[in-house]
């Protein structure tokens, strides 16, 4: 009996999942290249390639000449402050909303212990609390899926015009992201770890407050900081949705071809990103209380150990208070340089009259499913479409029996194109393809760059190798690390949208430019978190397995230890890259985002509604897959 048990344990432990994952990735990449048309003519066509190189040369030349006139510097500084305050306000609002919504969306918190087993356990209407949980998840999905610029246009109806609208729009989007991740973190805390709190008779709220929350707090905190940085980095997106700031100005100046001004603005953006990086590191270090961490601040007295948490919180709060003040009273960017209270419109939310104006967007909730083309709904309309020859006659040419003939599939696809919803679904292949290829390239590059980027392997390696490197070798390693960090900083410091603009100038608008932009940004974001996980590994674990080469130690020890974390982060990044693919569609890459904005801007709300439904479905799908794969575990 015991023997059989061991055998089955071995059987389940065989790592077939890795192979399955590899096959899935291969299929996805194949699908990405098959589903949409990629234009590689810049590489294959010599004349086009030459022109692209020429343009890239021009581009680099124009970047070497920043505009440092005092008035432009002053203006850039104003814009930087505007960007920072909008991003901080958005994140602050999002943290509060997301915390509450995540409590509802987390199964462990909202539903708690239950006797349902098997398939019934995932049925949303099994109990009132489970229904609430499903509802909260749906709200988060919608918040996340609707692009922030669409929120901005909708919110204009309620909040009026002004930078607060942009901040709130961004905040709603960030709420969706944070809420999802918080609730996943809480769900993935092992039930056994807070069993004793339940056993003592605590209800769901107390179990949450004293059991689940503290156990996941470190993950929650570090993700919040990461997101706050991202919000600041997404200056370009804030700009596009009406938050003004650096992003809007950069886009405008790129459009005008004023590269000197763009360079100055980019330098300010980079400076802001760098400060955000450093500030979040500072907060992180102050709040971290893991004495086993190799780089933990060693506590000297009780007072200083207590003070650290306060310093971290006070620092964060100072920024928040400043942003609210700046947004409300400090911003002197008004028409006559007078300060104007941009917070006023928020009061509108309290009066029902303004909220009623949302009725304007009613049609968004009535998506057009084009039933007439597939013979559903009003018979008259069906007949009209049929007479025009624009209805779907799936099996007119090939019956379902000829499914083995490729020509049949082509003919079916052609017929399906008459159905609007099919065209909408097809347009989703553009952001998906970009996200798949971009994430894969970015993550692979990030893994390679993690080695020179990691502090543990470059500067502190003697702690586990036992060598004492020549000073020159040390300098070399230091240079290597600085270079790697510089690459990481620049590639994540410049938002995807701006990368996309640059690559559009090089490759022309299309998937290629968008994919490279996504890959580059992914590289920057991922290399940071990847090397952070590597640096968090206690050095004694390297010591045991070190065999003379730092590179092998990295590949065979550090890699596998942090592999699961890397995959978790990569999947998060994939999800956000799909959304970014939609946003890039708006700026000229095409696909789902492009058609959505087009219909939205032309007030065809029913059609825009259909695109919105597909966006939400896409987000729900990826979210449910990541939840079922249990990718987000709390790494205690």
């Amino acid at each position: 009996m015991k023997h059989a048990g061991t055998e089955s344990r071995y059987a389940t432990k065989r790592p077939w999942r890795h192979f399955a994952a590899l096959i899935v990735i291969a299929v996805l990449v194949f699908g990405a290249f098959w589903a949409v048309e990629w234009d590689f003519s810049t590489f294959t066509n010599a004349a086009k390639g030459e022109r692209a190189i020429e343009r890239a040369g021009d581009l680099i030349a124009s970047f070497s000449n920043p505009d440092f006139s005092s008035e432009w510097l002053e203006r850039s500084w104003e814009l930087t402050k505007e960007t920072l305050s909008a991003a901080v306000m958005a994140t602050f609002m999002a943290v509060i909303l997301a915390y509450l919504l995540a409590m509802g969306a987390s199964r462990a918190v909202c539903v708690g212990e239950e006797s349902f087993r098997g398939r019934l356990r995932s049925f949303p209407l099994r109990s009132p609390m489970a229904a609430l949980c499903a509802l909260c998840r749906l709200i988060l999905d919608v918040l996340r899926a609707v692009p922030d610029f669409a929120w901005a246009v909708i919110l204009v109806a309620v909040l009026g015009l002004g930078p607060v609208t942009g901040a709130v729009a961004l905040g709603l989007n960030v709420t969706g992201i944070l809420g999802k991740v918080y609730s996943e973190f809480w769900d993935s805390v092992d039930e056994k770890e807070y069993e004793q709190i339940r056993a003592l008779g605590a209800g769901r709220l107390k179990t949450f407050l004293y059991g689940i929350r503290p156990l996941a707090s470190r993950s929650v905190q570090s993700f919040t900081l990461m997101r706050a940085e991202c919000a600041i980095r997404n200056a370009a997106v804030i700009g596009a949705v009406g938050g003004g700031g650096l992003g809007a100005e950069i886009m405008y100046q790129i459009g005008m071809g004023k590269w000197g001004k763009v360079t100055t603005l980019m330098l300010f953006t980079l400076a802001l990103t760098l400060s955000a990086d450093l500030a979040s590191n500072f907060i992180r270090r102050q709040l971290r209380n893991d004495p086993n961490h190799p780089r933990a601040v060693k506590i000297r007295s009780t007072a200083s150990s207590v003070a650290r948490a306060y310093i971290g919180v006070a620092f964060a709060m100072c920024i928040v208070v400043w942003s609210v003040w700046f947004m409300g009273w400090g911003n002197s960017a008004g028409p006559d340089g007078e300060s104007k209270n941009y917070l006023e419109p928020l009061a509108n939310l309290t009066s029902g009259k303004e909220v009623k104006k949302l009725k304007f967007f009613e049609d968004l909730l009535k998506p057009d499913f084009d039933g007439a083309s597939i013979g559903l709904g009003d018979p008259e309309a069906v007949q009209k479409v049929h007479d025009a020859g624009k209805d779907v006659q799936l099996f007119s040419e090939y019956g379902p029996g000829s499914f083995w003939r490729p020509a049949a599939w082509e003919a079916w696809e052609l017929e399906l194109r008459n159905w609007f919803v099919w065209r909408v679904i097809k347009s989703a292949s553009v952001p998906l393809s970009m996200a798949i290829v971009g994430t894969l390239l970015g993550v692979l590059a990030a893994m390679a760059l993690t080695y020179p980027h990691s502090l543990a392997f470059q500067l502190e390696s003697q702690q586990f190798t036992g060598e004492s490197p020549h000073p020159l070798a040390r300098v070399l390693r230091f240079m290597q690390m600085v270079l790697a960090r510089g690459v990481g900083l620049v590639s994540r410091g410049v938002p995807e949208v701006m990368w996309a603009f640059l690559f559009i100038a090089f490759f022309g608008p299309g998937l290629l430019a968008g994919t490279i932009a996504i890959a580059l940004h992914t590289l920057g974001v991922m290399v940071r978190v990847f090397s952070e996980t590597v640096d968090n590994i206690p050095y004694r674990r390297f010591e045991q397995s070190f065999r003379g080469s730092r590179m092998t130690c990295f590949a065979y020890t550090a890699g596998p230890i942090s592999w699961k974390d890397w995959m978790t982060y990569s999947f998060f990044q994939f999800e956000s890259n799909v959304r970014m693919g939609i946003v890039l569609g708006i700026v000229g890459v095409g696909g789902l985002g492009f058609f959505f904005t087009f219909n939205f801007e032309w007030f065809r709300f029913e059609k825009a509604g259909t695109y919105l439904v597909v966006m939400v479905l896409l987000t729900v799908l990826i979210d449910r897959i990541s939840r079922s794969l249990k990718l987000s575990r709390v790494n205690n």
Partner: protein, 307 residues
């Protein structure tokens, strides 16, 4: 974390107190911008953001100041970040008057269900036109009509301007489809949207796209070098474009006063010169919503971009 929570709660308190504190002022402002009938206490104007935000703020700040003196009530300019938002603001009564493009003028009329009225437009708006331009190096030649263009430029890359633009997208697409009988997507290799008129010119000149369409005002004031690289190959018939649109519920009296003030602007005063030169106009002229019926028909017949 508990401390964090308490601090956050405290801050929410402060935050909401601040919001309430300013609530009184806001309430006054709202009634001014309220969607209700009758003349408001403060006239709020806005514009589609087809130029740099600062330039627009300065320019429409001047317009607001000028109107304030003429109609005897406070006028304020509010900036919006995209075309759709300006229509929404007008339709919801958050703005009373707006500087609109051809498409947005019609949209404003549609979204207010006929509650919008054209105050005036520039002299140049009544005979707006679009140029089709081609890349010189690639051997662009003048064509008689767009049918001919669709034959000689088959398979080449083509770009419009912004997808919401009248002169950069809607009208050239309309004329092309009408004359050649087929969609640009079916004729050209790749159909792009450069984002603005000057970008269209730059991208056709440098060969990113072989053919493009842009509004004539932008082309005419471009540098000779660019014009040489991207000559005009076809000029469309004329159509109407920009206008000042106001909400009807401002009342005939107020609208009349505004119209009179706008039509009075000429180059004799510094103020007027500034306004007109920014708008590249000789003067403002009277116009009626009916003039935009052509664009309305094009819009209602459906613009099929393939999505």
């Amino acid at each position: 974390m508990k401390r964090v929570l308490w601090l956050m709660i405290a801050l929410v308190g402060i935050f909401s107190a601040a919001a309430c504190g300013s609530g009184n002022e806001a309430a006054n402002g709202n009634s001014a911008a309220g969607g209700g009938g009758g003349a408001p206490e403060k006239l709020i104007i806005t514009a589609i953001p087809d130029d740099n935000a600062d330039k627009l703020k300065e320019h429409f700040g001047n317009v607001a100041k000028y109107l304030e003196g003429k109609i005897g009530m406070p006028v304020e300019y509010m900036h919006v970040e995209n075309y759709a938002a300006s229509v929404t603001a007008l339709a919801n009564g958050q703005a009373h008057m707006s500087w609109m493009g051809g498409v947005t003028t019609v949209q404003a009329d549609q979204q207010t269900e006929g509650g919008a009225v054209v105050v005036c437009c520039r002299d140049i708006d009544k005979k707006f036109k679009t140029y089709f331009i081609g890349n010189k190096e690639a051997g662009a030649k003048k064509v008689d009509d767009l049918k001919m263009l669709s034959e000689v430029a088959k398979g080449k890359d083509f770009t419009f301007g912004s997808k919401g633009s009248t002169s950069g997208h809607l009208m050239p697409r309309f004329f092309f489809t009408e004359q050649s009988g087929s969609k640009p997507e079916d004729v050209f290799g790749k159909v792009g949207y450069s984002g603005s008129h000057d970008k269209t010119l730059a991208q056709v000149a440098d060969g990113t796209f072989m053919v493009g369409a842009l509004n004539y005002a932008t082309y005419d004031k471009a540098s000779q070098e660019l014009k040489d690289k991207a000559p005009i190959i076809y000029t469309t018939p004329t159509y109407v474009d920009y206008s000042f649109v106001a909400r009807k519920d401002l009342g005939d009296e107020l609208i009349g006063k505004i119209r009179k003030a706008m039509l009075e602007i000429d180059g004799s005063t510094d103020e007027g010169k500034k306004i007109l030169s920014f708008m590249k106009a000789g003067k403002f002229v009277e116009a009626d919503m009916k003039d935009w019926d052509g664009i309305r028909n094009v819009m209602e017949s459906g613009v099929d971009i393939g999505g």
